[in-house]
Amino acid sequence: MNIALQYDTAHLIGAMVLLFGFQLLYQRRIKAVLSTFALQAGALSMAAAWQAYIQNAPHLYVTAAIALVFKAFFVPFALNWLVKRLGIHRSVETALGVGPTMLIGVVLVALSIMLVLPVTQGASALTRENLALAMSVVLLGLLMMITRHNAVTQVVGFMALENGLILAAVGVKGMPLVVEMSVAFSVLVAMILFGIFFFRIRERFDSLELHYLETVRGDRL
């Protein structure tokens, strides 16, 4: 297969991950956010599998499998269950409107392109575009965590950020598997942590709004 097509396909899949990152910002219902996240994880797993194929690095297939099984199926399913179980409000509370958030998103993408392209002069084409896209995904994840109130959407934002990290990792030739595993585990840990948090908040304040937490900081007690 020729290099151009390899490159274009990798680029296309990377852009799909980015596009789903944008859609996460666009969605206004928690259920839709979770499905979008699942799609993003699916795209990520495709990206990993494609990299495994063109780099001839079988261990990346494991990464792809982890992303698919764990992030695309298990996590959204679990979070959905949580939402239902806890009776969480089904719409997304935004700190900033959808339009402005997406506008900032585009600015962030422009910023990461401007940052990554000159810095990585000389690196291989595949790596450069991958890095630019991955950095955008990371920044979009952060943006989502900042601009969305609800705890569930914060978890999703955090994991979208992780997706960006993995996208960056799979694009670099010779990255050992250990990193991916640790990243995946950290997500799991975060999941459990946040899950427990939900229950605790729910028990004490009957709401998942984060600003209730602000009143129970240690210095005020």
Binding site: A4, D8, L12, F22, V98, M102, R128, E129, A132
Partner: protein
């Protein structure tokens, strides 16, 4: 300029007018099937148009001259715009007269007139429709122009025929920007044609309608012209998307009758596929609130902007 380029231009102009009701009818009948109704025949729009043409005009008491010329202007400009999009061949005599920017602006003329016509009688529905139409246009038009910008950067031209040449010559490859532009153009097309989730072409409910609200006072042949213009516009967007993103099969200049034949058949197939896709999309999605339009179309605008930015990533390699 050859005799053939004139001939094909005439043929294309007639096709995009005469086949347009069929496409609309086709979408409607598929939609009906998908929700389990039998639905009218795909030829029903033709019957509707002819029936309307035969009817007397009923004009509101305070309708002005603008109200009466508007349908002709709307229809003429929309039809003209549709005739400028290469459908089965790029060997058309009017191709150099207009590029994609002009095309967008021609649709803008039709929209300008229809909004004014909505305001002419002085009813609240007309004003409501015109006001919402302007909101949609204010985002959809820039989104479309940004798509044109991306295409111009990618292919070095804003003329649709040249873009087709470039894509067919394999100059584009599997480009991310093309993909993003396609998504953005699809969103714009849905909005501009008043399809679900932006507008519902089948209702007359004040809470949901945009396009229907503006043309509420039209009757007889005026209404027929406006409905026909809406059908031609749907046809135009389908042709535009198919000619830029799936140009394969289009006859380029220098190919003989065989090429034209292939062009016609492939064009028919493309239009059918895209129409079916539209019907499915409309069936599975729900209408959105008016103030979500801004997010929807703002998303389209930002996507096309993103397409330009991503272009630089691949360009810099």
């Amino acid at each position: 300029m050859t005799v053939f380029s004139i001939l094909w231009q005439v043929l294309q102009t007639m096709i995009c007018l005469l086949a347009a009701p069929l496409v609309t009818g086709f979408v409607r009948s598929i939609k009906a099937r998908l929700v389990g109704r039998q639905g009218p025949s795909p030829l029903q729009p033709y019957r509707d148009l002819i029936r309307l043409l035969h009817k007397d005009l009923v004009l509101a008491e305070n309708a002005s001259w603008l109200f009466r010329i508007a349908p002709y202007v709307i229809f003429g400009f929309t039809w003209m715009a549709a005739a400028l999009v290469p459908s089965f061949t790029t060997n058309l005599v009017l191709i150099p007269a207009a590029d994609l920017i002009t095309l967008v602006a021609f649709l803008g003329v039709a929209r300008f007139m229809i909004s004014l016509a909505g305001l002419d009688i002085g009813t609240s529905f007309g004003g409501l429709g015109a006001s919402r139409e302007m909101l949609i246009a204010s985002l959809a038009e820039p989104a479309m122009l940004m798509s044109v910008f991306t295409l111009a950067l990618l292919t070095g031209t804003t003329a649709p025929a040249r873009i087709i040449d470039y894509v067919l010559a394999g100059g584009v490859g599997l480009q991310v920007s093309m993909g993003l532009t396609l998504v953005s153009l699809l969103l714009v097309a849905i909005a501009e044609n008043g399809r679900i989730p932006i507008d519902n072409p089948a209702t007359h409910l004040e809470l949901t309608m945009v396009h229907e609200a503006m043309v509420l006072e039209y009757t007889g042949r005026h209404l027929a012209l406006i409905e026909a213009a809406a059908m031609v516009r749907l046809m135009l967007y389908i042709s535009l998307i198919s000619c830029i993103f799936i140009p394969w099969g289009i006859s380029q200049s220098g190919k003989g009758f065989e090429g034209i034949l292939i062009g016609l058949v492939s064009y028919g197939a493309k239009v059918g596929t895209l129409a079916a896709f539209l019907a499915v999309f409309e069936t599975v999605i729900a209408k959105m609130r008016v103030f979500r339009y801004a997010d929807f179309l703002g998303g389209a605008l930002l996507l096309s902007l993103l397409a330009t930015l991503v272009l630089y990533v691949s360009e810099a390699v």
